[in-house]
Structure formats: structure tokens, C-alpha cells
């Protein structure tokens, strides 16, 4: 007789757990080396407290239930929101910057028959109280070192800017409603729909071309150059934040593994500036992501800029195993 476990959950047995722990240990050592301290927060929090993060439509709590006193509790969907709460509670008077890392599980709703994980490990950092571009550059440097330590030397970090396209739409004079519609299409990665929406706007030919070309631009430093050539001052303003960050990365010698992506938009509602995604050639899914969320801490009472990333540990583990296999095959 077998006893079922809920969809999206699983048991982890010793061989896998040993490797996951080893991976967590190596990542923790990297984070410690950069001055980040580990924190743990409760798996279950008050729903009303997590909801202060606002429109995080990207990651609603998977499980909500009533506590003994009838209060509504929720399981965390990520570690960023609990850490924002922790900073407000426990570091209310501390001098920033604050550096935290975590190796923790998070919980999300699963869709049926999609092989999704509703409970999964995340390893990540939060840098609180450090502005762009310096804070962003630091976090990308930590991420790059973590990927190397995990054996993913070929992994690429995609770097975009959550405000870039919004600002572009504003600057070419697209109204509120159309702007919201177009941003939603971009977040849904529907570039065909985006082009249809852009061409129905009352804009000049050059502006229309700019709006359709920018989201497809991705690659090295030349992306910024091409964008500026195409859109002049309007684009220059929109990409200025990204350009500053990229210059900082070049100074630290880590720009090579960063791929600029002018169309990158992550689903999570709280990103304000730089956004990150991690790709490895051995895997068809993103390994993790992050970015700047300069307004999130303020919603919990400490108005500090912040930036961070989270890696999906199970995916990093699979990519690691794939890279090992490829290496062995290459040697044969």
C-alpha cells in the first residue's frame, strides 16, 4: 500500500540529499566569502504581513490556512518578502548596507500534469541599502562566483531593466492604458502581440520601429550602442541605468558572462530596476533570477534600496550533473 503525498511535493532520498547539501555548502561558502550572513525565517507567516509586498501577482502563496486563533496564515512563495519583513523588524536602526543569504525552501501553487515543483530549495542573497549601480554589480559578482563554484562555468547571466521599456513607452507618448497592455504582452513574451499593439498606436514610423526592435535586442555591449543609434536621446535615457551597471561589471572583469537583454521582464511585481536571469546551455529552463526592488523595503517601513537573486537549487543540481556528463563525454 502506498500513501499519497500532495501534488508538487516529493521525498528526497540520501544520494540526492547528500549532493544537494554539498551544493548548498559550496554556495554558502561563496556567500560568506563576500560578507553575507545566513538567515532563516518561518515557513509560515501571517498572510496580511506577506501581502504588504503588494502586487506580487507573480508568486501568490500556494497554501493559506487558519491558525488556532482564526488568523490567516500563508506559506512563503520566496525568501525576498520574508527578509524585507525581517529587516524592518530586527534591523530597524542598523546602518546599511546589510548582507544576507539563505538556503531555504519556498512554496508555490502547481498546475496539474506539468511536472512542477510546489516545494523547492532556493539559494540566494539580499543586499539591502546599496544603490544602483554599485549594489547591482556586487550582487552579480556574487552570482557569478556562485555559478563557478557550482561547476557551471558556462552559465550566462541575462541582465535587463524592469523600468527600461516602461520609460521608453512614456517618452514616446504612449498613454496609460495602452502602456499597461503592451507591458503585459512583453511580460508574457508575446512579441507578435506587442508588435500588433505597437502598430495600432498613433505614433510615427520611427517610434513604432523603436518599440518593436528594442525588446528583441540582446547580447554584448554592442546592444547598448545599437539601441542608442536606433532611438537617439529617448533610448539613451532609457538604457542609461543598464549602461552604468554594465560599465561597473566591465571594471570588475565579469561583463563577459553577462548578456544584456533589453526585452527582459520578470513576472514578479516588485522589481524596479535591474533584473537578472540565469541560463545554462545544458538546461532549457532558467536556473534562477533576481533584480532590484527599491520600493519593497519601504512597504515594510524601512525605505532602503535593495537587490538580490535566488537560484533554484534542484535546477542548478540538474545542470551541474549535465555539465559533468558533458565533460566526461568530451574527455572520452
Amino acid at each position: 500500500m502506498t500513501h499519497p503525498i500532495p501534488p508538487g511535493t516529493r521525498d528526497i532520498l540520501p544520494d540526492e540529499m547528500r549532493e544537494l547539501r554539498a551544493l548548498q555548502g559550496r554556495l554558502a561558502a561563496v556567500f560568506e566569502r563576500f560578507g553575507y550572513g545566513e538567515v532563516a525565517t518561518p515557513t509560515v507567516e501571517y498572510d496580511a504581513v506577506l501581502a504588504r509586498a503588494g502586487d506580487v501577482s507573480g508568486a501568490p502563496a500556494a497554501h493559506r490556512f487558519f491558525g488556532g486563533g482564526g488568523e490567516l496564515l500563508a506559506m512563503r512563495a520566496d525568501m525576498t518578502v520574508p527578509i524585507a519583513r525581517l529587516v524592518a523588524n530586527r534591523y530597524a536602526a542598523s546602518e546599511p548596507p546589510l548582507r544576507f543569504f539563505y538556503n531555504a525552501r519556498a512554496y508555490r501553487e502547481v498546475r496539474p500534469q506539468r511536472g512542477q515543483m510546489g516545494e523547492f530549495f532556493q539559494a540566494g542573497v539580499e543586499l539591502v541599502g546599496s544603490n544602483a549601480p554599485d549594489g547591482t554589480v556586487e550582487v552579480i559578482e556574487v552570482l557569478s562566483a556562485a555559478l563557478d563554484e557550482a561547476g557551471l562555468g558556462r552559465a550566462v547571466i541575462g541582465l535587463g531593466d524592469a523600468s527600461l521599456y516602461r520609460r521608453l513607452l512614456e517618452d514616446v507618448g504612449v498613454g496609460d492604458d495602452a502602456r499597461a497592455e503592451i507591458l503585459e504582452l512583453l511580460a508574457g513574451r508575446d512579441l507578435v502581440g506587442l508588435e500588433a499593439a505597437a502598430s495600432s498606436l498613433d505614433l510615427g514610423e520611427a517610434e513604432r520601429e523603436l518599440l518593436t526592435a528594442i525588446p528583441r535586442m540582446r547580447g554584448g555591449a554592442d546592444v547598448l550602442e545599437r539601441a542608442r543609434d536606433l532611438g537617439g536621446d529617448v533610448t539613451r535615457r532609457a538604457v542609461s541605468g543598464l549602461a552604468e551597471t554594465y560599465d561597473g561589471l566591465a571594471e570588475r572583469g565579469i561583463a563577459d558572462r553577462v548578456s544584456l537583454d533589453l526585452g527582459l521582464l520578470r513576472d514578479l511585481g516588485y522589481y524596479t530596476g535591474a533584473i537578472l536571469e540565469v541560463y545554462d546551455p545544458a538546461l532549457g529552463h532558467v536556473l534562477g533570477g533576481g533584480g532590484r526592488y527599491d520600493e519593497l523595503m519601504g512597504r515594510f517601513g524601512r525605505h532602503l534600496p535593495a537587490v538580490g537573486f535566488a537560484l533554484y537549487l534542484e535546477r542548478v543540481h540538474i545542470a551541474q550533473a549535465e555539465e559533468e556528463r558533458l565533460n566526461e563525454e568530451g574527455r572520452r
Partner: protein, 223 residues
Amino acid sequence: MSGVARPTRALREGPLRLALPRGALFESTLDRLDAVGVDTSELRSDSRSLVFESGDLMLVTMRPSDVPTYVEAGAADLGITGKDVLMEQSDRAFYELLDLGYGGCRMVLAAPAGDQHAEEHERRLGAVRIATKYPRIAERFFEDTGRRAEVIEVKGSVELAPISGLADAIVDLVDTGRTLRENGLEVREEIAPSTARLIANRVAHKLRAAEIDDLVGRLGEVS
């Protein structure tokens, strides 16, 4: 972002893998590939193979509704399928890169010609019974128009449903409308137009940007 996909292993080296839809879009898809210089003669033969190498592409053939599955998982870097399939699977994550223009169809709400059953059920019972192969599109359409539908998913000929009394109306993809007419059905409402689309895996779209942009450029030019 809901649950996190537990990834399939997918090797991303070698030729770009392009998933192609067998069925109604197959011929036009091969024609378009020929037009941009991809040799498709092997696919046009009676071969039972599912995978073909052609120049710097690996062509993988499958059911149109499987294309988003393969592309999301990275088992294919790119895929071609109908917008109807993409709308039905809109919760999957992939890039929609190009409207290829061919395979034009319409997603419609159709009911028996001259028959007021659907209207009467909506008025007296508060909901219409809809048979469809596209349950999510049907549900979303009724939700978006502020109405209720009892959506019944069928796999085969959906025209049978109103004739046999399983449903009052259907939501289906129509091309010329001939099948509808032959079964005594007529279009009542237009839901959305559909054409063939090119989609890309999220990781491949970044890591193989130059190759993908090149193919997008070529495929887009002839449309």
C-alpha cells in the same frame, strides 16, 4: 509564476532544433522552409521518421498541440504551431517571435443554424453548454464577455455535440466554414483569428540569439 518546473534534461549543443506541426499546417510550413532555403524533401517523403537533419537545423515533427510542450522544456529550441494552440496553452512560458501569416483560421462560437437553443438556455438556465477541443479558450471567452458557460471537453469531431444534444453550441477553429455548414451549424460569434506562429524556448532565445534572429529574419522576410 506558479510552481517551478522540474526541468527535463536537454542538451543545447549542435544544430538548432525546430519543432514542426504535422497536420493542417504541415504543407505550408514545409513550403515556407523551402522558401528560406531549408531542404524539406525528406520530410515530404513517406518516411515514418520523426526527426530529420537539414543543413544547420534539426527538424522534429509532432502534433501541433505538443509543440509548446517541447519548446517550453527546451527539448526543441524553436517551434511552429497555430495561434489557437498557443492561446489554449497560454500558461506555458516561451517567446512568441513571429506571425508566419499562413494557416489563417478563426476561433468561433457556432450553434445550429436558425436554432435558438443556446440563447434560450442562456436566458432561462443562466449558462450555455459548450462542447470544444479548446476548453480554456472557451472558458476565457465567456468570462471575458461576462457570461457563464458549462464547458465540455471533447477530443474528436466537435460538430457532433450539438447534433446529438451533448451541448447547445461549440467553440472551434474554422477555416472555410464548410464543415460547419455540412453539419447544419453557423457562426454566432468571432472569438479570435489564428495563424501559424514561430515560438522559442526562453533559454535558447538568449543563448543562441544570433542563430535564432537570423532564422526569424529569413522566415519573416518571405511572409
